[in-house]
């Protein structure tokens, strides 16, 4: 801004100086014309006419004889001239009472005419100086005004920005103080602050959802572990109340160990789920024939089915269906589906394990003709500890399906539950080996090893 003002000043000064120069030049040309046509007398007449104070001109004239006695003009005496670098002479106009009393600078040039007559033509620079001063004043005051406006505007703008940051800060403080449902208010202007607030709000929503999930899990853990611990405690207490008997004590201790093992199994399952969800470094995905894998599991569970009066059927193609998987982890996941089917299918029913391919996916399905799961519950049973009302009384920790889903996801696959009219179909879809390699390549390095 200062540079701009300086430029304006500079341009104005140059223009003023040039105008002065041109005016004097034009005056000289005019006088020279008169002198040529009418001689010295004509010159004197013109000068006298032009230097008449009533004309209010700022031009200065002085015509003297060879002894420097004034012949005509509006200067009383020949000034002390001083030739400047630019060819002009400058002198100080003394307070000769001609116009005003203050001394000011004049610019002039002089000639010596025939007969030693000297002519001086000049211009009083008072107007120039006054103009220059006015310009400076104008520039300085407008500069000051601009500075002031800029300052005020800046303060107003930054205060508004700070106020909005402060709003975000306050919301943050409130949330930290425990008001987790608080959100940053939006102005609806869609500017950067609104977008920032939207992003932060979305982040807070996500965190709140996760926290709600976590809280539910923790509540469930507390609840699900309290009951067996309570049973364990009262069993020991009962044994102590009864008549001392080694036989009875052994019995109770044996049962207690069984309960403790159940609790440990629950913790192990929870840790396994957490690990699978985090992308377990333990998982080693290698080529695995899903058809043979399913046949092996069916072979393991076939006697269990028969014991319960169920038919366990395995339907796989003879040729291998290759996926990439960790046999240990996958067997846990699929065994769980088979165990569920065996557990909930009433005597006389059929459990069918099948392996098929569908495009780039291999599908392992465990279908039963048991009671099934209502469609609106099919997603929720994957939650940790979630158990259907009907299955509350049966054994199990409510973690099997959560673990199965975590393991299948770790393999880049999906697990879904569907109806079997009547019954339930659990379908595990895994990418076929060729596709699976692409998935693994897109996974973080530590999951591949």
């Amino acid at each position: 801004m200062l540079a701009m003002l300086a430029l304006i000043y500079w341009q104005t000064v140059i223009y003023g100086t040039r105008q002065t120069d041109e005016t004097i030049d034009a005056e000289i040309t005019g006088l020279a014309e008169q002198y040529r046509q009418r001689g010295l007398a004509g010159l004197v007449a013109v000068i006298n006419e032009r230097s008449n104070p009533e004309r209010g001109s700022s031009m200065l004239y002085l015509l003297t004889d060879q002894r420097q006695h004034p012949l005509a003009g509006n200067l009383s005496r020949w000034p002390d001239l001083e030739v400047q670098a630019d060819g002009w002479m400058r002198f100080r106009l003394s307070d000769d009472g001609r116009r005003d009393s203050s001394p000011h600078i004049a610019q002039a040039t002089s000639f010596v005419l025939a007969g030693g007559v000297q002519l001086l033509v000049g211009r009083d620079l008072a107007e120039n100086t006054a103009f220059r001063n006015r310009i400076v004043t104008a520039l300085v005051s407008s500069g000051a005004l601009m500075l002031l406006l800029g300052l005020v505007g800046g303060i107003v703008l930054s205060r508004r920005a700070l106020a909005r940051i402060e709003t975000i800060n306050r919301t943050g403080d409130l949330i930290m103080a425990g008001e987790f449902s608080r959100r940053i208010p939006l102005k609806g202007s869609g500017d950067e602050f609104d977008r920032l607030a939207q992003n932060l709000n979305a982040m807070l929503d996500q965190i709140e959802r996760l926290m709600a999930g976590m809280r539910q899990v923790t509540d469930n853990i507390a609840h699900d572990l309290r009951s067996p611990l309570g049973r364990l405690r009262s069993r020991i207490e009962m044994a102590l109340i009864e008549e001392p008997s080694t036989e009875r004590y052994r019995d109770v201790l044996q049962q207690t160990i069984g309960e403790a093992d159940q609790l440990l199994a629950t913790f192990t399952a929870l840790l396994d789920i957490a690990e699978a969800e985090a992308g377990s470094p333990r998982a080693k995905l290698v080529p695995l024939d899903l058809a043979a894998f399913a046949r092996d599991l069916a072979d393991l569970y076939e006697p269990v089915a028969e014991e319960k009066g169920l038919a366990l059927k395995i339907e796989t193609a003879a040729q291998p269906i290759e996926v990439r998987g960790d046999r240990h982890m996958l067997s846990r996941a699929v065994a769980n589906l088979v165990e569920n089917a065996l557990k909930y299918t009433p005597t006389g029913g059929t459990v069918r394990i099948s392996v098929t391919t569908d495009g780039t996916m291999a599908r392992l399905a465990v279908a039963d003709d048991g009671p099934g799961i209502p469609p609106d519950e099919r997603e929720r049973v994957f939650d940790r500890f979630y158990r259907l009302e009907a299955s509350r009384t049966t054994e199990g920790n409510g973690l099997g399906l959560s673990l199965a889903r975590a393991v299948v996801r770790l393999h880049g696959g999906t697990i879904t539950l569907g109806g079997n009219g009547p019954g339930l179909v659990a379908t595990v879809s895994l990418p076929l080996a060729a596709t699976a390699e692409q998935f693994e390549r897109s996974m973080p390095v530590n999951n591949r090893r």
Partner: protein, 224 residues
Amino acid sequence: MKLLVVEDDREAAAFLVKGLKESGHTVDHAADGRDGLMLATTERFDAIILDRMLPGMDGLAIVAALRASDNHTPVLILSALDQVDDRVRGLKAGGDDYLTKPYAFSELMARIESLLRRGAGGKTETKLRVGELEIDLLARTVRRGAAEIELLPREFRLLEYLARNAGHVVTRTMLLEQVWDYHFDPQTNVIDVHISRLRQKIDKGFMKPMLHTVRGAGYCLKAA
């Protein structure tokens, strides 16, 4: 048998030493990796029970050092769940075993006994004999006394494993791992069902049973 326990957790070590001594073994204890390695290389042990996480030295490094010096004492590695990785599983293939903490003492005992037997035997046999039970590993046939017993392939594998550990307790987990190669905890009594199937075939019609259930531990095949 002489056993070495390398375990830094005092209580766990005391529990182990007490249990093993009560089972009739001589037990030495080292509380850190360096002492453990020194004891293992200077004295002869029948088996070593080694914690994976030790101050100063990783349990696996001790095994590696032992093997490098041509010491083939069987090692049972105790590891926390999140430390069971492929290296530990790999060790198992070399004749050793691993167990995740927390473990049941009966499980540990059964595995140690099994390791000790593996260390002692090691010859490739073609026939296993337990009392009047005779298992032909080449022909895949089984006889009890004069009677030939028809077994499904999985039943044969189960009986073979029990026979190799005849007279000793094998746990359900050991059976699931060794016979089926599964490393999970079934929610159903799947192993019991397989055992009762096998029992039907080898004990039914005979006066004295050979396949026994050991309460709270597992199963045991014994000469009648």
